[in-house]
């Protein structure tokens, strides 16, 4: 459709629009400036001071790679690699659990669909910390899950899950599941029903049409879900601390210790920058995977 409204600045509407530009720029500048001050510049400080030196109770500007050498060796390297492995597996698990649930919600209609989606989001209205603490209760010896497994004869004897990697994965999937369901759901409801019907008319089985039509079409949703789950998992602090015991320190805990316990700010900054680099790599990979889908993901 051709534009009806005139665009030349001579017309009244155009003049208004030119004056309106100022307001549009304000709407863009306001968040940009605020976030620059409370978010971007502090992150910049971390990058700059990752080349600095920790001094007694503080930090000094310098240009040294010592912090990176330390962060990429021995114990810290182990914890960096372990963190990446945890985030990747946690993210994949999360997507595997979220996808069928999102598919089920997307196949419903109207108010029922909304209600089913809202139900998945309810946990966000309760305290995150209390939910993780409740997993401690649920998974502990003598806790409800052990009782349930014993009563139903699914597993006799005590349950030894708390303070293991399994408990950390349960916690990670648990915490990030709702945020993984939403983007997958949004993409699924935008797949035209006619496309699925066409594939069925052409003789595809339900499974084939899922595998060749629905799944490839939901790639951008999966990528967004991976972004919103896997990337924050790289800095996860609370779940490994509460459910994993002190075994297998992850990057989030290691970084926070540099700040809150040993006050090695420079080393902590270098480790934080490494996490940011891992984030950047993950984002780059996901952006590549969804190339050509800008319209759908928008």
């Amino acid at each position: 459709m051709a534009k009806i409204s005139p665009t030349s600045t001579a017309s009244p509407a155009g003049r208004h629009r030119a004056a309106g530009r100022a307001l549009d720029h304000l709407f863009a500048a306001l968040p940009a400036l605020w976030l620059l001050g409370v978010f971007i510049i502090p992150l910049g400080f971390t990058v700059v001071f990752s080349f600095g030196r920790s001094s007694f109770g503080g930090i000094k500007l310098d240009f040294t790679l010592d912090n990176y050498a330390q962060a990429l060796s021995g114990f810290y390297l182990d914890s960096f690699l372990r963190t990446i492995q945890f985030a990747l597996s946690g993210c994949i698990l999360c997507l595997l659990v979220a996808y069928p649930a999102a598919l089920f919600i997307a196949r419903q209609q109207g108010a029922r669909r909304t209600a089913l989606l809202v139900l998945v989001l309810v946990p966000y209205f309760t305290s995150f910390l209390i939910r993780v603490m409740s997993w401690q209760i649920l998974l502990a010896r003598g806790g409800p899950i052990e009782w349930l497994l014993n009563v139903t004869h699914l597993m006799p004897g005590p349950l030894d899950v708390l303070d293991t990697q399994t408990a950390v994965f349960i916690g990670l999937v648990y915490a990030y599941l709702p945020i993984a369901v939403v983007p997958i759901y949004i993409v699924l409801i935008r797949i035209p029903a006619g496309l699925i019907e066409a594939s069925r008319d052409l003789g595809a089985s339900a499974w084939q049409s899922f595998w060749h039509v629905t799944l490839p079409m939901s790639r951008p949703g999966l990528a967004t879900a991976a972004l919103l789950t896997g990337v924050p998992m790289l800095g996860e602090l609370v779940i490994p601390a509460l459910l994993g015991g002190d075994k297998g320190v992850l990057m989030g805990m290691a970084i926070s210790q540099q700040y809150l316990a040993t006050q090695k700010y420079a080393l902590g900054s270098a480790m934080a920058v490494l996490v940011l680099l891992a984030v950047a790599v993950m984002v780059a990979v996901l952006v590549r995977l969804t190339r050509g889908f800008e319209e759908v993901s928008a």
């Binding site: 978010f39 910390l129 209760i137 709702p178 700040y259 984030v279």
Partner: protein, 276 residues
């Protein structure tokens, strides 16, 4: 469609439905647990994983705990201001994401919004601590509020953006053709249309800010301590069931708040409908 494949599809849907039920059970298990265990007698004033009996005492205990109450107060204040800032800045960001005339600016802003969501909170928290310690800025309520706003801004921006995408551009053009300035167009045409999204954004920012633990834990001081940070600290000594009682009360309060917001949203929607 042939009968067998219809049956297969129904079978598939049944499996998906079963999966969904399991997911919801998984999501609700800890919530139910935290509520039930806020009535747990416990042992020696500590929470126990084995349920030892029902009591209401922990609610009184939580209410009478001065430091707990102070923490709730700080959390309420901090998340209130964070929500106010997030609504103003997040709404304008969400609107700019859709309506800014320059596509490059839109792209940059959208990248910024995603960065807010994905930079791990630990990195944000430590960066802020470093920033304030180097610039010798004293930690307090303003630094805490400023620290928790980015996440709330991103959430509000995404919700408002979704609302702005459904906004018919011709409405704004019509208003401009009829002589309304940009400001009047936004105030009288755009804002009423976006009101439900803005309200939803305000609510989500409030809830997210109230619940923030990781960033806040780097920015709290002995006098400015939020509820999640206080609870996290209390874990070292083994939490008392009063902690669960406090969380249950906050949950009930939040649900009432969300219910009210939902009601408000419906009212706004009904009022807005004839104008469409």
């Amino acid at each position: 469609m042939s009968a067998p494949s219809g049956a297969a599809r129904r079978g598939g849907n049944l499996l998906l439905g079963l999966w969904y039920v399991l997911v919801v059970a998984f999501l609700f298990a800890p919530i139910v647990t935290s509520i039930v265990y806020s009535f747990n007698v416990g042992s020696l004033g500590k929470q126990t994983s084995t349920f030892t009996g029902w009591t209401l005492n922990w609610f009184a205990d939580a209410w009478n705990n001065v430091s707990l109450r102070r923490a709730v107060q700080v959390s309420l204040t901090a998340s209130f201001w964070s929500a106010i800032i997030a609504v103003m800045i997040g709404s304008s960001l969400g609107f700019a994401l859709v309506r800014h005339p320059n596509p490059l600016v839109r792209r940059l802003l959208s990248g910024l919004t995603y960065i807010l969501l994905i930079v791990p909170e630990t990195v944000v928290g430590t960066s802020l601590l470093l920033f304030y310690s180097v610039t010798r800025f004293r930690l307090g309520m303003p630094t805490l509020v400023a620290g928790i706003t980015p996440l709330a801004i991103a959430v509000t921006a995404l919700i408002v953006r979704a609302g702005a995408l459904t906004l018919d551009r011709r409405l704004e053009d019509a208003a401009a053709d009829l002589g309304a300035g940009r400001w009047n167009t936004i105030w009288f045409v755009v804002l009423p249309h976006l009101a439900p999204a803005v309200l939803a954004g305000a609510l989500m920012s409030y809830v997210f800010s109230f619940d923030n633990l990781v960033i806040s834990s780097f920015l709290t001081t002995p006098s400015i301590n939020t509820l999640p940070v206080y609870l996290y600290g209390s874990l070292q000594y083994g939490p008392s069931p009063a902690v669960y009682a406090a969380a249950t009360s906050v949950f009930v309060f939040t649900i009432v708040l969300v219910g009210l917001a939902g009601l408000l949203y419906r009212l706004v929607l009904r009022r807005g409908r004839p104008r469409k």
